[in-house]
């Protein structure tokens, strides 16, 4: 559904990214509850005394009001909602990873209300939990589901339930194919246990952690195309430091 370009008042929103526009303004890529991802022009937001300056921060719940007829609508009010502890350290880099995924995969002006709520919950989880890996996997699965590319984790392509000791070949667009004599040149090989664990959100097994990461990277790369995610490299660097 594409929403119209009417004036919006006090929309729950997050800043995904900002970039400079002319001498003193910013373009804000916002993720909003009712309108999805929208680019907004924040006039004068780079001026030292601008009221918007300190507010237009990523990972903080805001209420934004905007209007205008052009493609780039004008942000005229931003209100701080608070309630989310700021992301710090590695969880902050994880936050950038979520934002890069949203910037790359969400179309503009395409609302995803449930994903918006899930994003907010994910930020809250990142700010309070040390083990961020299950949180990132959960978000990736939910994002793909919202985009209409949900992964099949409980049954194979013939409709049979996943059998945990068996191995499967995960084919994008189809799902898990049970591996018997066939090879896995069209997909990614992984265990039934991993699929079932991911379906339950259980990342306690070391094998599941490794295989789920490879699966999500494989699937996301398919939808992201050739350009790699910058934040993924940063997270990898940090693990090696």
């Amino acid at each position: 559904m594409i929403v119209d370009k009417q004036r919006q008042e006090a929309q729950p929103a997050f800043v995904l990214h900002t970039y400079p526009y002319r001498e003193t303004s910013l373009v804000v890529e916002a993720f909003t509850l009712n309108s999805g991802r929208v680019p907004l022009l924040a006039k004068g937001a780079k001026r030292p005394k601008s009221a918007l300056r300190g507010l237009l921060r990523a990972f903080q719940p805001l209420q934004l009001s905007w209007g205008g007829k052009s493609e780039l609508r004008v942000l005229y009010k931003a209100e701080w909602q608070g309630g989310l502890p700021p992301l710090q350290g590695t969880s902050l880099i994880c936050g950038f990873y979520l934002n890069e995924l949203l910037m790359r995969l969400l179309h503009r002006n395409d609302p995803h209300e449930q994903l918006f709520v899930y994003y907010q919950d994910t930020l809250a989880a990142l700010s309070t939990h040390e083990d961020y890996m299950p949180i990132l996997r959960g978000f990736e699965l939910r994002l793909l589901q919202e985009l209409g590319y949900a992964l099949t984790l409980d049954h194979d392509v013939t409709g049979k339930p996943i059998n945990s000791p068996s191995d499967y070949c995960y084919e994008i667009g189809r799902g898990p194919v049970k591996l018997e004599e066939n090879d896995c040149s069209q997909g990614l090989r992984l265990s039934g246990t991993t699929l079932l664990d991911m379906g339950r959100g259980d990342y306690s097994s070391a094998a599941t952690r490794v295989q789920s990461k490879i699966l999500m990277r494989y699937v996301l790369n398919h939808y992201l195309g050739d350009q790699p995610l910058h934040t993924r490299q940063l997270l990898k660097d940090l693990q090696q430091l």
Partner: protein, 171 residues
């Protein structure tokens, strides 16, 4: 600005063009602090009146100037000439963190003061540098944030106030 100068201020445009030309020919990065200079090692880095045990990391030359104006710091600097900005594709290589790492290993630096901005990118940069220098036998510190001196709660933005409450200290 270019149009304005061309139309109204031909002489000014000429002066700007020659100073840009001069800058392009003579200005380079200091080998130690990475700031702009006309020499191999800048005057500040050559000074004997500064504390070589302290190294302050800032994003831009303007930040270094602000630190100097505040007369609160007598150590050395490293100017990143940017900050990590993953969504703009600016990573550790683009801001010369390899050179920063090397700079801290001169045997004199004991403490690295992270004075990157309190934007999400500045925070990410500080975290990354902290991890990079972890276990290198250095003390790593981050400048504190809070309300402006002389600031009144009534006039401060919500983000700053929220952060100051989160980082409140016992007295």
């Amino acid at each position: 600005m270019a149009y304005h100068l061309l139309q109204r201020d031909h002489e000014g445009a000429q002066r700007l063009a020659s100073s840009l030309d001069y800058a392009l020919q003579h200005i380079r990065h200091c080998e130690k602090c990475n700031n702009f200079t006309e020499e191999v090692v800048c005057e500040l880095c050559r000074s004997h009146h500064r504390d070589a045990a302290l190294l302050c990391v800032v994003e831009m030359p303007a930040d270094l100037l602000m630190m100097e104006q505040a007369h609160c710091y007598k150590g050395m600097y490293f100017v990143l000439m940017g900050r990590l900005s993953p969504l703009d594709g600016i990573g550790p290589r683009e801001i010369h963190l390899d050179r920063l790492l090397k700079r801290t290993q001169d045997g004199l630096v004991k403490e690295v003061v992270l004075a990157t901005n309190f934007t999400v990118e500045g925070e990410a940069t500080a975290h990354y540098i902290g991890e990079l220098l972890h276990d290198k036998g250095l003390k790593i510190t981050r400048i504190a944030r809070g309300l402006p001196v002389g600031g009144e709660l009534e006039h401060v933005d919500s983000g700053t106030l929220a952060q100051a409450v989160i980082e409140r200290r016992e007295m």
